[in-house]
Amino acid sequence: MSETLLSVQDLTKRFKLRRSLGEFVTRRPGDSALAVDHVSFDLAKGEILGLAGGSGSGKTTLARMLIRLVEPDEGVITVDGRSVRDARGHELREIRRRMQMVFQDPYASLNPRMTVGTAILEAGRVHHQPGSEDGDAFVSKFLDLVRLSASTAVRHPSELSGGQRQRVAVARALAIGPEVLIADEAVSALDVSIQTQLLNLFLDLRDELGLAILFVAHQLSVIAEVADRVAIMHLGVIVEIGAAAEVFHNPQDEYTKSLLASHPRSVPLDASREIRIGE
């Protein structure tokens, strides 16, 4: 295994629940919900770690804490040995540059009033990325990287399909030269054929750029396709983490087993049964 790029230890987040009037008057502290409970994992260079779990298991909160879109309560996050939680101002922006995020909803994560080219170029210029002085070349380079034609640059997001938009979001993230890509349910909103194309794109990007990718998804089938290692989250805790094949074929934890068992299969178990269309 190559060197560790991102390291997370005992990361914890509590969300305060609203206090009742009684609690407020008596000055009792309100209840809080543990969204993420002492989670630890490492991510190596060029590795794809799949993070799976049901709704409300804390996957998204965990992902957002990594770049401090949500402030962690406890724990240590380091990138290349540098602490993320202690970073302020310029340092924090530099860390966010190195760890980029692709959001779930491609219909809402792009500014509707900006053309694709403007959005990509803006990201590059803000971080003074090499090559960003030459606008058109810079934009086509990254559009090419996500397999979109250079003519996409003049389009607005509303003129693109969901899959194309998600590619634009990836291109924009790549334009500022990250080392870690956090894909937060990045393919969940897309239909299956488009999903496969995007998953292949992520695999290619890992190979071409040596990106480390944290791939958050609730669909195990999606994770099985890309991940080298898999972490299963349940109620804020990572219940199982290990090599993908190991976790999928020989799950140790009860929750993992039930998750695997409940997952719909793409091929019916009983292949001999006739499938009638229109039934």
């Binding site: 924090l92 809402a108 994560s109 500014n111 509707p112 009033r113 210029r125 640059a153 607005h156 500022i176």
Partner: protein, 292 residues
């Protein structure tokens, strides 16, 4: 960003689309409104060339003349040409109303978007100030400011801006609260953009439309307030002309010389209709403000 070769093309396409919808009169409200206001603005700008007389030139012999070929809109009680005075008055009113309304809009929208974005004590302080301003009847507060600054268009202008920004503040603040939760605004944070960039480059273009539409109502209201205060003698001071002061100067002769008050009143009404039509045209939404 602007050197992207595609930028001017987009801009040209946008203007072309507006022009086409104008020609086809798909949006008759907008076209009619624009024609009315354009003519008024043009007349005001060209006042020195169009006006047949000097607006303040007194000619007692020709006082209280009915509209005729010599005096299109008649003359007032000291023989000043009403048409010339209306042109010069329009010049003053249009300029003042535009400055006042859009200064208020800029101040209100700027503070509102920042407030909605950062929240916290900044929002609390500015929000309470806005509440205080809104709690008073509009005209009372303007009068109070005029009392402090002194009569004249300057006092009226300052007064209206002090009151007027608050509504734009509220509008844009509440829109910003919604916008802030949008993934593309969160994405600006993830991308390491500055807050200023997030607010003014990403959020603002997506929420300015409401304020712009509201400003078409505001312009009319402000125009009437300026005219009203001039009518009361608190705005434009004699002998300078503005629509309100011309109307006021004619009220003693309403029965014998109706034209002095009526014609400037009609001009004021036309302005109101024109601006409202533009507002309706924009709200109809088949044209794009900026890009999509």
């Amino acid at each position: 960003m602007s050197d992207l070769a595609t930028r001017p093309v987009m801009k040209r396409r946008r203007i072309y689309r507006l022009w086409r919808s104008f020609l086809r009169a798909q949006n008759w409200e907008l076209s009619t409104g624009l024609v009315i206001i354009a003519m008024m603005v043009l007349a005001a700008l060209l006042a020195p060339y169009i006006a047949p007389y000097h607006p303040n030139q007194i000619n007692i012999v020709d006082s209280l003349q009915a509209p005729s070929w010599h005096h299109w809109m008649g003359t007032d009680f000291v023989g000043r040409d009403v048409f010339s005075r209306v042109l010069y008055g329009l010049r003053v009113d249009l300029l003042v109303v535009a400055i006042i309304t859009y200064l208020g809009l800029i101040v209100g929208v700027t503070l509102g978007t920042i407030s909605g974005y950062v929240g916290g004590w900044f929002d609390a302080v500015i929000g309470r100030v806005a509440d205080t301003v809104i709690a008073f009847p509009f005209i009372v507060l303007v009068l109070a400011v005029v009392a402090i600054v002194g009569p004249g268009l300057k006092g009226v202008g300052i007064g209206i801006i002090i009151v007027g920004w608050a509504l734009y503040f509220r509008l844009s603040r509440s829109e910003m609260l919604v916008m802030r939760e949008q993934p593309f605004i969160m994405a600006t944070k993830a991308l390491g953009f500055s807050h200023l960039r997030a607010i003014f480059r990403h959020a603002l273009p997506n929420l300015i439309r409401t304020s712009l539409v509201y400003s078409t109502v505001d312009v009319v209201v402000n125009m009437l307030v300026i005219a009203g205060l001039s009518y009361l003698g608190l705005g434009q001071q004699a002998p300078g002309a503005d629509l309100g002061s011309i109307i006021a100067s004619g009220q003693g002769y309403l029965l014998s010389a109706w034209w002095i008050t009526t014609i400037p009143g009609v001009v004021l009404m036309l302005f109101g209709i024109g601006v409202s039509l533009i507002g309706d045209g924009i709200t109809r939404g088949d044209l794009t403000l900026g890009s999509r």
